[in-house]
Structures are given as structure tokens and as C-alpha cells.
């Protein structure tokens, strides 16, 4: 049994220690908002926050996050930045297929938490590891600026 703190709750998960956090979240805790896209830290679809920093859960074994605070898309609206980002995403209708968007939002929230007025270059830097095959990038950029504005 491995003890994980996810979205403010403690869970016991019965998985091998080398199991990537992604699969423990999805298959064991049924928190399916965090997505599998590549399994190799190449696409960002699986991005979660660990102690507030963005992390690719597909290459992070559960053994590495014991005792740390894990936040997933399901609970991102509990924080002010998270809410602002979600709202900007909805206002601008960023999503298309939506499959990458949990990861996009988690990365955007992490960016805006550290940097309230990101420039285009800051956005490119922070978001370049989050691929979107639907190429919703024009709106992702606009929505990050929009959320920054809303956060004041």
C-alpha cells in the first residue's frame, strides 16, 4: 500500500512503487481528468501539480510523490488562479477535442501562479511541452492573457 495525498485527501493505493502516478490516478483512484498521451514526458497531457509545481505524472513513479501534495484538474477550481484559467478557457472556447486541455490548464495555472503578467515569450517557454494536436495554441495564448487580466 502506498499513501498518496491527492486533492487534499489521503488515499491508500495498492500498486507497485514503480507505477507512474498517472496510472495510479487514472486506474486506481479513477481520477480520469489527467490524460495519457505519450508516457514519455513528451506531450504534457498528464500534467499535475506536486507541491504546486507542474509535473509529468506519466514518468513520475508513485514512490517519488509519497507525502507530497498532488493536485489534479479535478480540484484546480479550488484555487483562485485555477478558477480564472478555467473561466478564460470557457470564455474563449479554447477547447476542441479537449484531450490535451487538462494538461494545458495545469501548466497555465502553474505559470500564472509564478508570473502574473506573462509575456508571449514566457508563455512559449512554460507551455512548449504541452502539445495540442488540434493546435488550439492561438486561443491558449489568448486565454492565458485573459486570465492574467482577470487576476489583476
Amino acid at each position: 500500500m502506498i499513501q498518496l495525498n491527492v486533492n487534499g485527501k489521503t488515499h491508500q493505493v495498492d500498486v507497485e512503487p514503480d507505477t507512474p502516478l498517472l496510472w495510479a490516478l487514472r486506474d486506481t483512484l479513477l481520477l480520469t481528468g489527467t490524460k495519457y498521451g505519450c508516457g514519455q514526458a513528451l506531450c504534457g497531457a498528464c500534467t499535475v501539480h506536486v507541491d504546486g509545481s507542474p509535473l509529468r505524472s506519466c514518468t513520475t513513479p508513485v514512490s517519488a510523490v509519497i507525502g507530497r501534495k498532488i493536485t489534479t484538474i479535478e480540484a484546480i477550481d479550488a484555487n483562485r488562479v485555477g478558477k480564472a484559467v478555467q473561466e478564460a478557457w470557457r470564455k474563449l472556447d479554447v477547447v476542441q477535442c479537449g484531450y490535451c486541455q487538462s494538461g494545458q490548464i495545469m501548466s497555465a495555472v502553474a505559470l500564472l501562479t509564478k508570473n502574473r503578467k506573462p509575456s508571449d515569450a514566457d508563455i512559449d517557454n512554460a507551455m512548449s511541452g504541452n502539445l495540442c494536436r488540434c493546435a488550439t495554441y492561438v486561443r491558449i495564448r489568448a486565454a492565458i492573457h485573459e486570465a492574467a487580466k482577470a487576476l489583476g
Binding site: L31, Y36, V94, T136, R139
Partner: protein, 735 residues
């Protein structure tokens, strides 16, 4: 368009305990044929009637549910269909929701495809426009009848707006929900009056996406997210080469992995079933399969291309012939020749392929981002020995598709089914493809080689055009072959080439379709146009240069018969400032502007690209100005979104996309070796929509074809170098 009739399904739904108005359609001819006499008349069609087989339901709680017969894979179909219904119904947009319709070709067929349900070819809006308008209008008329009856007033004095029915003179009003039960008892109007377009309140306006909320909070359900009690996750070891078969494997080692429950051999390879994905992966890693590759396909991309180039030296089957090209070439003042190479491309939808299937007491049930409902129903029915209507499909959101989920032969769905069959249905199975499985499984956009030549006369007029294409047929051997192959020519291979819009007096388009290549190929967003737009529009540009003419002026000169092409071309040129000087780049940077225009799926798109090419040959696309004519713009913001996305998707392929085979093995496996466009590479995109009253056509794909040629023409303007192969190679563009 096929005939359809509206039917009232409310009573059936009432019997199932949901009061309210439910409207569906049936196709009289089909329904009678399939359901037997008498069944169509009362609207009880087919056997799978526990589904809410309808297009529209109004609940007592005011909720308006629109049932989408089409897959939502990002293209905005749910929102588009709901917009049409809600406008004619005069519903309150906030109370409108969308649900996937059941798989039922009798009721939910694609009207442009005949008797099959499915989504593709950018047909969702085109085939649903009239049908959805009528659904909304019929619903509105029945609500009005109900109100007239209830208030004892004339129906003609009643107005409807934003989900509320009103009689002004007596100051009475009621919500849709309050009238739903009574409305359900009204006769379906035989004829409905559709709105005058000037009265549209949602169509052509901004209506927010219906899936935005659930796709931003983790709630949206994709196939990957399905969990059923007792479900096992299956990973399959696939052959390393197309056509290889299993020789031996070590089931014991796989089963020794914690969580692994079973190992079964299926025609597609060896499946490892486990309680969760990670255990299945570890089990598969332990399998140690050895393969019999004696009959496998062992050519590499280079071998294939070499073969195609040889073929291109010989005449192919004629796909289009106008005038006498041979004679024109002998008289030419100048002949321009070029040839083009296009690689295999993977769809690489963000959600790799997957499918959940379980056997039930009365059939089988499927969870899938379902794009080919009818084809998959037939394939599964055949495999399991069921009747088609015993195959129940739950259509979930698809995490992209770009054509991949529209499998022509139900490939991955059947793979899941084979596993279920091999374990005799003892557990529901979720087949999961990891990214590498998805990328190596084939079903690529086919590799193509084009050879082109054109004749110019002394004044620079194009007098002849010869276009020879070589590439595998997508539809050969599939149920689509009968429809799409005529006299050996696959229409899909030459679309965009055989219908070249330019008025050139002598035109020959020929096709070679090699049949010795065992690489599975499939439609990839914009299909044939994904290569034909490139060769035709870059070659045209080269001819304009050879004739010393402006590329826009020459195009317009030869598009007199094609006003919609000309319309978008002019609009894009104007908005992009065609003819003005482009701001120069930094030292060592070369900048250029290029244009292309192309029609696909009856939508017209022109794009102007502005690029910067660095000294080392790397390309930055700075801006793409797009002009679009897709008839009535049902949801302009979604049109903009689709075109923005198409620009990025097409650019991803043009800059990076290439699947290569080495001795038959696919060399790429993940996004490191098959890179996808990232945010820093995304250009600024402007989308201008031509105002139109023509029937709406699609926009999921038509934004793709002209991107790469516009960029290539811009590169040529910047560097003087023409790109004859995709993806672009910086090494070809050194300063």
C-alpha cells in the same frame, strides 16, 4: 438529399418514465425495408428501442436535449447541431445540452452517405442542416399548438423566444418545460415553416461551445476514461512489420507480473489482459514474442519512393482529360517540370486508439469515440454472430481523430472484439494502444509521388498541364471501393488534382495505384487534398514566376468560372496586404509572402502565409491570413477555431511530419521522433469568413490543404528556392 419524416417519440419515452416532448425522424423507405410493414408508420423502428432514438427532447425541467448523430472529436459538431435546432426552436441557449445519439443507421444515417451512420468528409453540417432545422421547427410548432390549446387562443398569435412561449394579448406565457407534456400529445406538423435567415438568433452569431465546461474540469468522458466493473485492460503486442505473424511467446512470464490476468493470441498479435494499464504494459514487456516475418513487408520508404518514381515515368490510368495535352506540349515555347514527394503521415490524435467492449446477455456493448457507427456494427455483428441491432454503441468524445477513428475496416474495434472473443466474454475489455502502438500501426496518410509538367506559350499562357500521381489507394479492398473507384481510379487519390479549377485548355491527370505495398493507409484530415493542394498550388506558383506574372493576378485570370475560389482568393489577398512590401527581418533573415487557394468538401479556403527563413534554413511562419467560404456560417467562432487549428495541424505536418519505414519497420514511435507543432511555432492566424446564403458545408478539414503550399510559396518568395518534398528541410534552404 434523402427524404425524411419527423415522428413523435414521446409516448415511447413516456412509457420509459420520462415525460416531455421527444422528436425523431425516420426514413420512410429504409425504415419500411428494415423494420417491416407497419413499423415505420408508428415510429417504432428497429429492435434497439431502449435508446432515446431522437434528435430533440424537451424535458419538464426546460432542458432541451439535442441528440447528435455525429461524433464530437473537436470539430465543434455538438455545438453546431445544437445551434441549428435551438435557433429554429427559439430555445434558450443556456438550457440546451447535447448527447450522443445511439448507433442506428435507420434513424441516424449520414444523409450524404446513404444508409450508413458515420462522421467524415466534413459532412456533419452539410447533411444535417435541413434535418436539424426541421426538427427544431417541428418542436416549436408543437409547443405553439400546445399553448394555443391550453390558452384557447389562435396559434398565429403566439410568439416564442428564448424558451418561453407567449400570448401577448392575454399576457400569458409558459416555459418549454411547462408545455412539454401537452406538446408531446400534438400532431407532428406535416410541413414546417423554416425561419427566414434574417430572423436567425443563434445561427451566424456567437454561441459558446457546449463541451467547454466538461473539457476544462476533467469531467469529459473519453474512451480512455471508461471503467466498468470487472473490466480488464488489454495491451497487444503487434508485429514489428506489417504482415508478420506470431511464432511463439512466453505467456508464463507475462502472467507472473502482478495484476496480469490473462494472455491470449489473436489475429492481430498477442494480448495481455490485466487489472490496470501499467500491469498490462509490464506484462507485455515480459512476453518475449518471436515473430515469423517470412511473409512480412520489408521495403523501406526509399525503396517505395524509388519504385514510385519509376512508375511516374510511364503513363497511368487517366483520371481527367481535357483537350490534347500531347499536341500542346509539342507546340510549347517553354516546358516547366517538377516532381513532389509526400511522406506517410500518422494522425497522432492526442488520444491514442482504444475501445471498450463487453458481451451482454442480448448482444454486445461498445464504448468508443465512434466515427463509423454502421461499419463497426456490421463488423462486430459478423464477428460475434449477432444481429446488427444487437451491437449497442455508446459514443464518447474522441480525443482527436483526423480521420483515424473513421476506420475503413474497423481495425482497432475488431482488435478489441477479438480479445473479448478469445476470453469468451468473461470480462469487459478496454483495449489501450500506447502512443508507440498508435504510431506504428499504420493506417497512415499514403506516401505519394507526383510528376508534373506544364507548357507555356510565347506570351506566358499556360497551354497544357500534365499531372501524374503515384500512391496507394485508401479505399481499395474496403466497403468504400465500390463507391469511389471507377475504371481503376480511386477518386480519393486524385481529388484536388483531377478537379483543378484553373482554365487550362489541355489538362491530363493520371494515376498509378501500386498494389504491392502492404502498409495500411487511411484518410488523414483533408484526404487527397493533403497532397494535391500542395503540388498543384506550388507548381502553379512556379508557372506564374516562369511567365513573369503575379501569382494572384494569374490565378484570378484563370478562375473566371470559379467565383467562390476567386472570392476567397481576393479576400485573403486584400486582408493580407498582398502587393505591399513585407517588413524585412533581422540580419541574415529572409522573409516572404505566399498564397494558395483550394476547394475541398465544397468549402473554399485561401491562405496567405508570411514566413521568415533564417540563415540556417529554419522556417518560422509568422502569420497566416485565411479567407473561408463554407456557405452559411452556422457558428462563425467555431469556423475560426477550426481554421486556426487546421493551420497548426497542417503546419505540424509541413514542418515536421514524416513517418518512414526502414526495411519495413516504422522508424518513429512517439513525439520525440514524430514531433508535433508546439505553441512557440504557432503563427498568428486571421480568419475572414465570406458572407454567404449558400447551404452550409464543412470546415473540419478544408482549412488544411492550402496551408503548406502557401508557406512553400512564401519560402520561394523569400529564398528563391522551391520545396519539392515535405516536410520542409532546412538543409534545402541554407542562405
Amino acid at each position: 438529399m434523402s427524404e425524411f419524416a419527423i415522428e413523435n417519440l414521446s409516448r415511447r419515452n413516456f412509457l420509459q418514465g420520462s415525460a416531455g416532448l421527444t422528436l425523431g425522424f425516420c426514413l420512410p423507405a429504409l425504415a419500411t425495408a428494415a423494420g417491416g410493414p407497419g413499423k415505420a408508420a408508428d415510429g417504432i423502428v428497429g429492435a434497439s428501442n431502449f435508446e432515446p432514438n431522437a434528435f430533440l427532447r424537451i424535458g419538464a425541467d426546460n432542458t432541451v436535449t439535442v441528440f447528435s448523430k455525429h461524433l464530437e472529436m473537436g470539430q465543434g459538431t455538438y455545438t453546431g447541431l445544437a445551434t441549428i435546432v435551438a435557433d429554429e426552436l427559439d430555445a434558450d441557449w443556456k438550457t440546451v445540452r447535447v448527447e450522443a445519439a445511439a448507433a442506428d443507421a435507420k434513424r441516424y444515417n449520414n444523409l450524404l452517405w446513404g444508409p450508413a451512420q458515420g462522421t467524415g468528409g466534413s459532412t456533419a453540417m452539410a447533411n444535417s442542416w435541413e434535418q436539424m432545422r426541421k426538427a427544431g421547427a417541428a418542436g416549436r410548432a408543437m409547443l405553439v399548438s400546445a399553448a394555443a390549446l391550453k390558452w384557447n387562443v389562435q396559434a398565429s398569435e403566439i410568439s416564442v423566444r428564448d424558451g418561453v412561449v407567449r400570448h401577448a394579448a392575454t399576457k400569458r406565457s409558459a416555459t418549454f418545460g411547462q408545455l412539454a407534456a401537452l406538446a408531446a400529445a400534438q400532431a407532428v406538423p406535416g410541413e414546417v415553416t423554416l425561419k427566414d435567415p434574417k430572423d436567425f438568433r443563434l445561427i451566424g452569431k456567437q454561441a459558446n461551445r457546449k463541451d467547454s465546461v466538461d473539457k476544462t474540469n476533467g469531467k469529459a468522458q473519453f474512451t480512455q476514461d471508461v471503467h466498468l466493473p470487472g473490466m480488464l485492460v488489454a495491451l497487444v503486442a503487434h508485429p514489428p512489420r506489417f504482415g508478420a505473424t506470431v511464432k511463439s511467446f512466453d505467456a508464463g512470464r507475462a502472467k507472473a507480473v502482478r495484476g496480469v490476468v490473462d494472455v491470449v493470441q489473436i489475429p492481430q498479435g498477442v494480448a495481455v489482459l490485466a487489472k490496470d494499464t501499467w500491469s498490462a504494459k509490464k506484462g507485455r514487456d515480459a512476453l518475449g514474442v518471436s515473430w515469423d516475418e517470412s511473409a512480412a513487408f520489408k521495403l523501406g520508404s526509399d525503396d517505395i519512393l524509388a519504385q514510385y518514381k519509376e512508375l511516374a515515368k510511364t503513363p497511368g490510368l487517366v483520371a481527367k482529360q481535357i483537350g490534347d495535352s500531347t499536341a500542346a506540349f509539342t507546340k510549347a515555347a517553354k516546358v516547366v517540370r517538377a516532381s513532389f514527394d509526400f511522406p506517410y503521415l500518422a494522425h497522432a490524435a492526442m488520444e491514442p486508439m482504444n475501445c471498450v467492449i463487453r458481451l451482454t446477455a442480448d448482444g454486445c456493448e461498445v464504448w468508443n469515440g465512434e466515427q463509423m457507427h454502421t461499419g463497426d456494427q456490421y463488423a462486430l455483428a459478423a464477428l460475434f454472430g449477432l444481429k446488427v441491432e444487437q451491437v449497442k454503441i455508446n459514443t464518447l468524445y474522441a480525443g482527436g481523430s483526423f480521420g483515424r477513428r473513421a476506420s475503413k475496416d474497423s481495425d482497432y474495434v475488431l482488435e478489441a472484439a477479438q480479445i473479448v472473443k478469445a476470453i469468451a466474454g468473461k470480462a469487459p475489455v478496454k483495449l489501450v494502444w500506447l502512443r508507440e502502438d498508435d504510431m506504428r500501426a499504420g493506417y497512415f496518410r499514403p506516401l505519394f509521388h507526383h510528376a508534373m509538367e506544364a507548357a507555356l506559350d510565347g506570351s506566358g499562357n499556360i497551354t497544357a498541364w500534365r499531372h501524374r500521381l503515384v500512391g496507394q489507394s485508401i479505399v481499395a479492398g474496403s466497403p468504400f471501393e465500390k463507391m469511389l473507384v471507377k475504371d481503376g481510379v480511386d477518386a480519393v487519390s486524385v481529388e484536388g488534382a483531377a478537379n483543378l479549377p484553373y482554365a487550362i485548355p489541355n489538362l491530363t491527370v493520371e494515376l498509378h495505384t501500386p498494389t504491392n505495398i502492404m502498409v495500411p493507409v487511411l484518410w488523414w484530415r483533408s484526404v487527397g487534398s493533403s497532397h494535391t493542394a500542395y503540388s498543384t498550388e506550388t507548381f502553379f506558383d512556379e508557372l506564374a514566376a516562369a511567365a513573369g506574372k503575379d501569382p494572384v493576378a494569374l490565378r484570378l485570370e484563370l478562375l473566371a468560372e470559379h467565383p467562390r475560389h476567386a472570392g476567397v482568393l481576393k479576400l485573403a489577398a486584400e486582408k493580407a496586404g498582398w502587393g505591399t512590401t513585407l517588413k524585412s527581418g533581422k540580419a541574415g533573415e529572409r522573409r516572404g509572402r505566399g498564397i494558395a487557394v483550394h476547394e475541398s468538401f465544397n468549402s473554399y479556403v485561401a491562405q496567405v502565409a508570411e514566413v521568415t527563413v533564417k540563415a540556417d534554413g529554419t522556417i518560422k511562419v509568422d502569420r497566416v491570413v485565411c479567407a473561408v467560404d463554407c456557405g452559411v456560417a452556422i457558428n462563425p467562432d467555431n469556423i475560426r477555431a477550426q481554421v486556426e487549428g487546421s493551420v497548426g495541424f497542417a503546419l505540424s505536418a509541413a514542418l515536421h511530419g514524416e513517418i518512414t519505414l526502414r526495411e519495413g519497420r516504422v522508424e518513429q514511435g512517439n513525439f520525440d521522433s514524430y514531433p508535433s507543432l508546439h505553441i512557440g511555432e504557432m503563427p498568428a492566424v486571421e480568419v475572414h469568413i465570406v458572407a454567404s446564403t449558400k447551404a452550409p458545408t464543412g470546415i473540419g478539414e478544408p482549412g488544411v490543404p492550402s496551408v503548406a503550399p502557401a508557406v512553400a510559396n512564401a519560402i520561394a518568395a523569400a529564398t528563391g528556392k522551391r520545396c519539392y518534398r515535405l516536410p520542409f528541410r532546412p538543409a534545402d534552404l541554407l542562405a
